[in-house]
């Protein structure tokens, strides 16, 4: 049987149309957009067209889009760039416990450089309380970075509300929208953000290309220092095929977003209900309704995540886990810890994330395959006792 992929939050396959759009830019239209000759001007035009399409989708000006190498770079550029640019004004940054490492690690780096970072807690569903943000803002606060939706537990944050507050206080506001661009409908004005990160490979575009939206007037110290590309904001030869692919991916998302959200929410809720009916002692992680349409994250008591993941993989189902055993650091997911999950339940977590190619049959198959896997592993577990 063909393996079924339930890990779209980790990465997505390039849509064949995206690949087709990229293909001419590898060997035929290969010029460097920075070159003045015809080879260069041709690709420059194509890059600018992609930029305009993406900007329009985001409700932004094309001059506000900076292409990067991915979500991680966008987050580094936003956090470090704003911090260095506004050091004259203050040294305080506010973020949350459930941010991606690509926000938290730059913050930790900046702490060593003399910045102060407030890391806000979240509630049991993984939501940041806007009142906590309000209370944390001081005269020295220069940047707030709160993600749009969490990649592990799918919780959607009250971004617009926090953004409004940030604007009132003259604080830059960044959101990591890597999990939401092309998956939820929004514009940068809806969200009240100054900076927004996205990554093409999460929406059927290629790996290795991302963007940072930078609202006009937002000062940023460059992160990638060097040549004068991207209006001197981000150096390095443009990844032309990547950018073209990103443009195409956004164009396609624009067309299919609405139907996708509807389908995915139905399947997501069917999976959640189904797991809870078929398996005892299952907990849903993350907000039950304010969550990504494609995200199901559960903790299954008394079994460990990697064991379930491996068993599912052998049965042709690919998913991910927040278990310690799956990471190089041997610590369980910081997100699951932040929502107050006991260690044992954190170790027993599984994330199933769906995508455009997911079918109703895939969902049914998963609902059939998981319960016996859990039963088999629970039979080996010294912790499990039927309730």
């Amino acid at each position: 049987m063909k393996p079924v992929y339930f890990d779209y939050a980790a990465t997505t396959p390039c849509d064949p149309e995206v690949v087709a759009a990229m293909l001419p830019y590898f060997s035929d239209r290969f010029g460097n957009p920075g070159s003045m000759h015809a080879f260069g001007q041709k690709t420059k035009g194509a890059v600018e067209e992609a930029r305009e399409g993406i900007a329009a989708f985001l409700g932004a000006d094309s001059g506000e889009i900076v292409f990067t190498s991915g979500g991680t770079e966008s987050n580094n550029m936003a956090v470090k760039g704003a911090a260095y640019a506004r050091r004259g004004k203050g040294n305080h940054i506010i973020t949350s416990q459930i941010e991606h490492h690509a926000v938290l690690e730059p913050c930790h780096f900046l702490e060593k450089e003399g910045f102060e970072v407030t890391i806000l807690p979240v509630d049991g569903d993984g939501r940041v309380d806007p009142d906590d943000v309000r209370r944390a803002i001081t005269d020295k606060t220069i940047l707030i970075s709160i993600m749009h939706a969490n990649n592990e537990i799918g919780t959607i944050q009250p971004i617009a509300e926090i953004g409004k507050m940030a604007r009132e206080r003259g604080v830059y506001f960044h959101t990591d929208a890597v999990q939401t661009l092309g998956h939820l409908p929004f514009t940068v004005n809806d969200l009240n953000v100054d900076l927004l990160s996205a990554s093409a490979h999460k929406l059927y575009g290629p790996k290795g290309v991302g963007l940072l939206y930078v609202r006009k007037g937002t000062r940023l110290t460059p992160f990638m220092h060097g040549g004068e590309q991207e209006n001197k904001r981000r150096a390095s030869t443009h990844n032309v095929p990547g950018i073209i692919g990103f443009g195409k991916a956004v164009e396609m998302a624009q067309g299919s977003l609405e139907k996708e959200v509807r389908d995915l929410i139905a399947w997501r809720d069917k999976l959640i209900r189904g797991f809870q009916e078929k398996i005892d002692q299952v907990k849903l992680n993350g907000d039950p309704t304010r969550r990504l349409p494609n995200n199901v994250n559960i903790s299954i008591a008394h079994v460990e995540g990697e064991g379930m993941l491996l068993s599912l993989d052998m049965l042709g189902i690919a998913c991910s886990t927040g278990s310690a055993c799956s990471s190089a650091s041997l610590a369980p997911s910081h997100v699951l810890m932040a929502i107050g999950l006991p260690h044992e339940l954190a170790h027993g977590s599984l994330r199933f994330s769906m995508g455009r190619p997911t079918t109703a049959a895939d969902v049914d198959r998963l609902l059939e395959v998981l319960p016996p896997v859990v039963a088999k592993l629970r039979a080996m577990s010294p912790l499990y006792h039927k309730t």
Partner: protein
């Protein structure tokens, strides 16, 4: 699954000796939920020879495979022979473990030591 050897995958998918031994002669319980691995090992010992071994494990693929392997390795061994089984021996018998999973083999060694300690203590208590 290139992370694990075929042997590991076999022992994970078809673990040997799963279960508990009633009135076991030696019981070892190691690990805790915080670090994500718990291993319970049960031994039946007759005339200083381990005649049966069973396990229950909460843990990752490697933890289950090392549990399974250690029960296989000890069966038929004398107590002294069993005491000489190191974590490396368990890992090697499985065709190797990824570096970040070597701690699972350590846990298996500890479970075995602990079960044997328990057996020896029970013997002393009887005497």
């Amino acid at each position: 699954m290139s992370q694990y050897s075929e042997k590991v995958m076999d022992h994970f998918a078809n673990p040997r000796n799963v279960g508990e031994i009633e009135n076991a002669d030696g019981i070892g319980k190691v690990g805790n939920a915080v670090c994500g691995d718990i291993m319970n090992l049960y031994l039946r010992v007759e005339n200083n020879i381990i005649t049966d071994a069973k396990f229950k494990t909460f843990g990752c693929g490697a933890a289950i495979a090392t549990s399974s392997m250690v029960t296989e390795l000890v069966k038929g061994k004398t107590i002294d022979e069993a005491l000489a089984i190191t974590n490396r021996a368990v890992a090697e018998a499985l065709g190797g473990l990824p570096p970040i999973k070597m701690h699972c083999s350590v846990l298996a060694e500890e479970a075995l030591q602990s079960a044997i300690d328990d057996y020896l203590k029970k013997q002393r208590d009887k005497a």
